[in-house]
């Protein structure tokens, strides 16, 4: 599903060159639920960004669902991000001035469909995460766990094949964190969604099928 070959990512400023990733090779099969672990600053988020086409590698090849991504134009990348990938962030990144329903519809805005269809899909996604009662609330009126669930609904509303989660439980207490993990596992089992989760919590990582470890930008073990 996702193939990264010989990935290198270097950040250059005027005076400093930072190597964020070096010689990373990862294959994620369809339907897998894997986690990426490592200490802070080891490049986990950078790796996820590259998988999610939010950034381009300095060297190496990225393949999503069989198609090479290197050198693709902005419009093509956007299309892939829209149809194949769903993103979940540690800090939720909900738009505070939009209702829950409007937030969830965001990915669908960049696809051609009628307003009625969008609404239906959004309502279905919110139902899936158990938030049907809060369609018209605003993010500030929800708890952390609820906000993350809205973010998950937004990530899956377009039925993407891949879900990328960057420390999804990092801002939540253990109870809510468990809820979110249960939801992710459910999505993986029922809809066969490929999930890549970045985490620093070993306990959460153990609940996934496979763990990739990073240290200082390189794969270990």
């Amino acid at each position: 599903m996702i193939r990264l070959h010989g990935i290198e990512k270097v950040y250059r400023t005027d005076r400093i060159e930072t190597v964020a990733l070096a010689d990373v090779n990862i294959d994620v099969e369809k339907g897998e639920f894997i986690s990426i672990m490592g200490p802070s600053g080891c490049g986990k988020s950078t790796l996820l960004n590259l998988m999610g086409l939010l950034d381009v590698p300095t060297k190496g090849k990225v393949e999503i669902n069989g198609s090479h991504i290197n050198g693709a134009g902005d419009a093509a990348l956007a299309q892939v991000r829209n149809r194949e990938i769903g993103f979940i962030f540690q800090t939720f990144h909900l738009v505070s001035d939009l209702s829950v329903l409007d937030n969830v519809q965001i990915p669908l805005l960049y696809r051609r469909m009628s307003n009625a269809e969008r609404r239906k899909l959004a309502e279905a996604a919110l139902d899936r995460v158990g938030l049907s009662a809060r369609l018209h609330h605003f993010p500030s009126q929800l708890s952390g766990g609820q906000q993350q669930r809205v973010a998950i609904a937004r990530a899956v509303v377009g039925r993407p094949a891949i879900l990328l989660a960057d420390e999804p439980t990092g801002n939540l207490d253990s109870h809510m964190g468990d809820e979110v993990m249960a939801l992710l596992k459910d999505l993986n089992e029922k809809e066969k969604t490929t999930i890549v989760m970045v985490t620093h919590d070993a306990q959460k990582a153990q609940q996934t099928a496979r763990t990739v470890r990073l240290f200082d930008g390189r794969q270990v073990c």
Binding site: N49, G52, L54, D55, D74, A75, L77, A78, Q79, R81, N82, R83, F87, F89, H93, V95, D97, L98, S99, D102, Q105, I106, P107, L109, Y110, R111, N115, R154, G158
Partner: protein
């Protein structure tokens, strides 16, 4: 997408309020300038009704006559002497070889003194019109096109009713499509008359002129009614000036010659000669100058607004970089994000323009004097033009910030602090 943006902007209405007010004020400023300018150009395209080429106006100043109340006989005698002097002046002017045609009048094109009057028709309608009183040949001095009938002449000496000239607009208002020549204006006369009032006489249309836009091409067209001025009878009207058309080739050096000739007929009267060219320039300047000053002020104000709004939108985009990063992650292309910023500006402008149109839409309902009423077509065109211009302005303000929103790679945008 539009509905989404409208909801987004509506939810942010408190932050957006000041911005919308600023756009509204800019719209109003633009509207005023465009309305006046458009009105002038529309007026300028309409017919003037006269030609002032080679025409001069001689303002005649005479010592005031004794008051009728104090000594009626002396007053009448002085008046008769005045009329007789005026006749001699007219004859003297006509004799001069440089003068083609001469006539007397109360007022003339581009002269500031104007007389507005009105009458009530038998069917109850009230008509306001521009008034003038001119001698025979006036229409020839100014080459005024006569649509129907003829100008004043000696034929009118014996007429029972007062001969009048009206313009096409007045003819249409009073007589509709019927031919007004020879007809009496269906005027309602005051039954209750005071003994001191002059007898009310009927007005019979002798000719229909194209128009007589005394205040020039930028003035609003209005109905015109002209009475005949006679120097040979009492109550024939008071002449204030002699208008003359010169033979081709006459230069300004003729002016002192003319004045000295007139001064010989009336030593204690004063004469001031003005060329129509000069009067026309001054009159046009009366209209154009204030508009120019207004336009310059408006131009600077709008420049200030453009700069300010660009800065404000820029800042707002920076505030929202994380939101834009998110949208990119959800599949929005760079172009789509740029489009969103521009579309948001457009939606906000629409709110402001709607409010502005609501405000200015009240104007036609205000009680305004007749000559300030602007025709509906011009009003609507001004609204449309101002709205279009304001959209251009706000979209220009949003253009550069929108590129900023799209330029930043999504990963950076999401992490932006």
């Amino acid at each position: 997408m539009t509905r989404h943006l409208v909801r987004l902007i509506w939810n942010r209405k408190r932050q957006n309020l000041l911005l919308t007010i600023e756009i509204l004020c800019s719209f109003l400023v633009l509207f005023v300038v465009i309305l006046i300018g458009l009105n002038f150009s529309v007026n300028a395209s309409k017919t003037l009704g006269f030609d002032t080429d080679r025409v001069w106006s001689v303002d005649v100043g005479r010592p005031p006559s004794p008051n009728a109340r104090a000594d009626e006989a002396a007053a009448k005698a002085a008046e008769a002497r005045e009329r007789e002097t005026f006749q001699r002046l007219l004859v003297a002017a006509r004799e001069l070889p440089q003068i083609e045609i001469a006539a007397v009048a109360f007022t003339a094109p581009y002269i500031n003194a104007s007389w507005e009057s009105g009458l009530e028709l038998a069917d109850g309608r009230k008509i306001d019109y521009l008034y003038n009183r001119v001698g025979d040949d006036f229409t020839r001095v100014f080459s005024m096109p006569i649509e129907a009938g003829r100008g004043f002449s000696r034929e009118d000496d014996a007429a029972a009713a007062d001969p009048v000239l009206i313009n096409v607009e007045l003819a249409r208002k009073v007589f509709g499509n019927a031919n007004p020549v020879g007809q009496v204006i269906p005027q309602k006369f005051d039954k209750a008359q005071k003994p001191a009032d002059p007898p009310q006489r009927k007005k019979r249309v002798v000719g229909v002129i194209e128009d007589f836009r005394q205040h020039g091409k930028y003035s609003m067209p209005q109905p015109v009614l002209i009475d005949r001025l006679r120097l040979d009878v009492e109550d024939g009207g008071r002449a204030e000036r002699i208008v003359i058309r010169l033979k081709p080739g006459t230069t300004a050096s003729f002016e002192p010659v003319l004045v000295r000739r007139l001064q010989r007929e009336a030593a204690d009267w004063s004469f001031e000669v003005s060329t129509m060219e000069h009067l026309k320039e001054r009159k046009h300047s009366d209209y154009i100058m204030p508009l120019t000053v207004l336009a310059i002020l408006a131009g600077f104000l709008l420049l200030m607004v453009t700069l300010g709004l660009t800065g404000v939108v820029w800042q707002s985009v920076i505030q929202r970089l994380r939101e834009f990063g998110l949208r990119r992650a959800a599949g929005a292309s760079g172009r789509s994000v740029r489009g969103q910023v521009m579309a948001e500006m457009a939606v906000m402008t629409t709110f402001a323009v709607l409010a502005g149109v609501l405000l200015v839409g009240q104007l036609p309902f205000l009680p305004l004097p007749e000559d300030l009423v602007i025709p509906g077509g011009v009003f609507a065109a001004a609204i449309a033009l101002s709205a279009a211009a304001i959209y251009c302005l706000t979209l220009a303000c949003g253009w550069y910030p929108s590129r900023l929103a799209a330029r930043m790679p999504p990963a950076e945008a999401l992490r932006y602090e």
